[in-house]
């Protein structure tokens, strides 16, 4: 039982951390994904292998990197490689989890990080794929961390940057993507979502403490599958919160 108060970013970091199993590999980006991975390493998954797209493999991350290419991403690593090397590792099947964020997501877990509005005359220009399309194509399981509201959880993406289950069951394989891959968990400030094994549509897995199923549904712009029983996400433990605040993000770059 947690005694300390926590904020949504801290809860998301803890929920994401708990998805990562020990002895697995994870391809991470900056921000919450790296915080979640570092937290997992310091709690239940000390042997989690962290890989960065610029080439860092298995670093002892001393402090939060600002870039997925900066020197912290290969600090005391087992290898300082190249992008070709780590992306090839992912294509070869060595990377279990890939962490992504997005501006928009649809019911099949497809992601948009490219633009809001038409591509050639965007209302908002976003950074683009970066490594997201690669991770979403090649990692065995992708985990998405993002805010949930009806502008972000949408029926139709403005642009499909990164593949989820595309148009549904079998679509990834038909497109040529590696088999048995795809989005696994979506973690937001409201809850945790997964995907129905048959239809590949997004399914509610748990709601965060204090959040109702209705809150989640009201903030989702498409029909979410709601199971009969929806458990509550475990709260962050005092130890997790201490690690986040004192060791992982002491100057509060990611976790406010």
């Amino acid at each position: 039982m947690t005694m300390m108060a926590y904020n949504p970013a801290e809860l998301m970091a803890c929920a994401a951390s708990r998805v990562l199993e020990d002895g697995r590999s994870v391809f991470v980006g900056t921000g919450l994904p790296i915080i979640a991975s570092m937290l997992a390493q310091r709690t239940h998954a000390p042997n989690l292998l962290v890989v960065f797209e610029a080439g860092g493999i298995g670093p002892k991350i001393p402090a939060i990197p600002i870039s997925v290419g900066d020197s912290r991403t290969f600090h005391r690593a087992v290898m300082a490689a190249s992008m070709d090397y780590v992306m090839s590792c992912a294509q070869l099947g060595h990377i279990d989890y890939g962490f992504l964020g997005a501006a928009q997501i649809d019911q099949y877990g497809n992601l948009n990080t490219t633009c809001i509005g038409p591509h050639d005359q965007p209302k908002t220009r976003l950074p683009g794929s970066g490594g997201a399309n690669d991770l979403g194509s090649l990692c065995h399981r992708t985990i998405v961390l993002m805010r949930q509201d009806t502008r972000k959880f949408v029926e139709r993406l403005d642009y499909l940057t990164t593949p989820g289950y595309l148009s549904g069951p079998g679509a990834r394989e038909r497109a040529g993507l590696p088999r048995n891959t795809g989005p696994y968990r979506i973690i937001t400030q409201l809850g945790v979502m997964g995907f129905d094994a048959e239809s590949k549509r997004m399914t509610l897995v748990s709601t965060h403490p204090g959040v109702t199923v209705k809150d989640v549904v009201d903030n989702t712009g498409f029909k979410l599958i709601i199971p009969d029983v929806v458990p509550t996400t475990d709260m962050p433990s005092d130890e997790e919160l201490r690690l986040l605040r004192e060791e992982l993000d002491p100057i509060k770059i990611v976790i406010g």
């Binding site: 600002i66 997925v68 900066d70 190249s82 220009r125 642009y159 940057t161 993507l177 590696p178 770059i253």
Partner: protein
């Protein structure tokens, strides 16, 4: 570019003779870059990017460049804001990673001043360079398929004749000119990089013209004493320019960390056109040698601090953080 044309270029324009290529950066930029050309920068984001090369292109008022936005962060932002680049092939641009989105880059694209002429992924971009580096017209890969990213990528999907599965063919990319900033290089261009090489081995081979900026020009013997550290051999290289701190305000791995105070100044000033102008008038246009720039951004005292930060002897500060 047809691979036979690439072969002709390499045979005709790249010398296999060990010759001294050390020259001032101004000369390298005027000789090997040109208006309307396709530019690629080595490094990644704000890591080991030749900002010295970029500032010199700004001073020489290069125009209408296309840039390979292969996780381009501060480089593309400054190039767009100053009017040097007007087209981007985008894997990642218009963002500053953890620092948020780029005010200047976004403004230019949303206002129509800069066009995004292609979208692709980071792996796809470096595999374009890899295809070129292998002298091949394309490289097969299992990314981008099924997405809008693919539609804007100039790639093709075909049926793999072996497995019968769809496979993405990513076309080779031969940039007209590239800059790569390295830790050490001899006068012939034999260059060594410490830490992750990102995609610079492939980019160095793909680029039609390659300008190396280096923290230091070292004796040939130092390179030959550790040839396994060489990432770029001399015959890929057209110019060698010695520019200590040449990737400031970025991070030069194992030497100095990124200057977040300076990045915060840029991110704040670049919110407006006037701010961009003020920044460029302060740090770029009137500045001659790179050492003058280093003095302007805080001199040796600042560089000492960035070295300590890199060695984890100072706590990181993030003046751009909202919270």
């Amino acid at each position: 570019m047809d691979p036979d044309d690439a072969r002709d270029w390499m045979a005709g324009k790249k010398s296999r003779l060990l010759s001294d290529k050390v020259m001032p950066l101004g000369e390298a930029v005027s000789r090997f870059t040109f208006d309307g050309g396709y530019l690629a920068m080595g490094g990644f984001g704000h890591i080991r990017v030749s900002m010295a090369g970029i500032y010199e292109m700004l001073r020489q008022k290069r125009r209408n460049l296309v840039i390979a936005g292969k996780t381009a962060v501060h480089d593309v932002d400054v190039l767009i804001a100053s009017g040097v680049v007007d087209r981007v092939e985008c894997a990642y641009a218009f963002g500053h990673e953890l620092r948020g989105l780029s005010p200047a880059g976004r403004r230019a694209v949303e206002g129509g001043k800069v066009k995004v002429v292609a979208e692709l992924s980071n792996a796809a971009f470096q595999w374009r360079f890899k295809a070129a580096s292998m002298g091949l017209p394309w490289l097969p890969a299992r990314v981008m398929m099924g997405t809008d990213t693919f539609k804007y990528s100039s790639s093709k999907v075909v049926e793999d004749p072996y497995t019968g599965k769809p496979i993405c063919l990513i076309p080779a990319c031969y940039p007209d000119f590239a800059f790569i900033h390295v830790h050490r290089c001899d006068r012939f261009g034999n260059a060594q990089i410490d830490g992750t090489v990102i995609e610079d081995k492939e980019l160095a081979m793909a680029a039609k013209r390659l300008i190396i900026t280096t923290e230091g020009v070292v004796p040939e013997e130092e390179i030959r004493a550790a040839p396994d550290r060489t990432v770029i051999p001399f015959f890929m290289v057209d110019a060698v320019c010695e520019v200590p701190y040449g990737c400031h305000p970025g991070n030069m791995p194992l030497l100095y960390y990124s200057d977040e105070e300076h990045m915060a100044e840029w991110l704040s000033l670049s919110r407006t056109e006037e701010g961009v102008k003020a920044y460029l008038e302060k740090y770029v246009y009137p500045v001659g040698a790179f050492a003058e720039y280093v003095a302007l951004v805080g001199g040796e005292e600042k560089m000492d601090y960035l070295r300590r930060l890199e060695r984890l002897e100072e706590p990181l500060t993030a003046p751009w953080a909202k919270r």
